[in-house]
Amino acid sequence: MAKGAVEIIIERCKGCGFCVEFCPTKVLALSPAFNAKGYHAPHVVASDKCSGCDLCGMFCPDFAIHGWREKKASA
């Protein structure tokens, strides 16, 4: 099971690709779909690889994505 997860606020994204490029485990890719402003937001393509490191959250200039570590004892 993945150790972490991300939340993406699609409508805030401007499609810069920072999160996709610098995710250490390549969890993300830009989606072919457009958001309302015409940008391609990221989507998760390898959820099992997410460590929850939140590097995507540190990089995102638009505050549109962040990651967190899942608690171990989450039943």
Binding site: F22, M58, D62, F63
Partner: protein, 304 residues
């Protein structure tokens, strides 16, 4: 009801004036990335937000203060440092941060920068350096390296540029570091260290302006710039600041260059007054926040 798991909020969110988001910064602009780092440093240093003020000048970077839900001051162009100095002297308990652009801090505001550093006023200065005056259309500024095409140098720049860490050190800053927006963890760490420091502290952050700098110079977009930061940066903590000038395509030396102690402005002032006035010197009473006494004057109220 949603069946979604409850998860932690983005750490930046609690610091944003959410009614102002989305912000105006272009796709691939690095300013927002520096804001993430700044908020992580606020969290890590357990900063008392009631005792913290953030002051910006004018420019794309100057917008930072307005997007943060802190005691924020969006001042006039070039005058963030004098404004911050006044805040600090009137209320020494405050932690005062100046967050502004390279043009604001080193062109119109350059004079204020060197004198605040010389006096060692206890303020923390973050300069987002995108190498141009971005907000007004990408004109050449004092940090623009040579052989770069700008709005005002269509045939390329030729005047020498400032090496900001060297300038800051020579003028007297006690803490000097440089990172790029690629170095998110290191930048957050430096900002945290800056909060622990007493005295004039300076962090330069190299940041993409794809719209007005990179595009004009065929350097690609924000992501291309981030990749080039990754490729060209060399970490050299303690490097002599004379050895870290920036050029158009050359190596980018990053790291912490200066971390020293000097008595700050208020300490020097007190020492001098005590030496010359002896017993007659009385510490001024410092007010803080809303503890001010209100008194009525001409029908209005003022703090005194």
């Amino acid at each position: 009801m949603s069946t979604e798991l409850i998860h932690p909020e983005n750490p930046v969110e609690q610091f944003l004036r959410s009614d102002r988001i989305p912000h105006i910064w272009c796709p691939g602009c690095g300013i927002g990335t520096t804001v993430n780092c700044f908020t992580r440093a606020l969290i890590d240093s357990k900063a008392n937000l009631d005792k913290l003020a953030i002051v910006s000048g004018i420019g794309c970077t100057g917008r930072v203060a307005g997007y943060l839900d802190l005691d924020s001051f969006h001042t006039t162009h070039g005058r963030a440092i004098p404004f911050a100095t006044g805040l600090k002297l009137a209320n020494p308990d405050l932690s005062v941060v100046v967050y502004s652009g390279d043009g604001d801090l080193f062109a119109i505001g350059g004079n204020h920068f060197i004198h605040a550093a010389r006096r060692n006023v206890d303020i923390k200065v973050v300069c987002v350096n995108n190498l141009v005056y971005a907000m007004t259309g990408g004109q050449t500024g004092p940090t623009t390296p040579g052989s770069v095409v700008t709005a005002t140098n269509p045939y390329g720049t030729f005047e020498p540029s400032f090496n900001l860490p060297q300038l800051a050190e020579a003028a007297g800053a006690v803490y000097v570091a440089r990172w790029t927006t690629f170095h998110v963890r290191q930048l957050a760490r430096s900002m945290y260290e800056m909060f622990q420091k007493k005295g004039f502290s300076f962090i330069e952050v190299l940041s993409p302006c794809p719209t007005l700098y990179q595009r004009r110079n065929k350097m690609g977009d924000g992501l291309d710039t981030m990749k080039s930061y990754k490729e060209k940066s060399k970490k050299r903590d303690g490097a002599p600041t004379s050895e870290v000038p920036l050029t158009r395509d050359g190596e980018i030396v990053v790291g912490k260059f200066v971390d020293r102690e000097r008595p700050d402005y208020l300490t020097l002032m007190k020492a001098q007054f005590q030496a010359s006035l002896g017993e007659r010197y009385q510490e001024p009473e410092m007010h803080s926040g809303c503890e001010f006494e209100q008194s009525e004057i001409d029908g209005g109220t003022i703090c005194q």
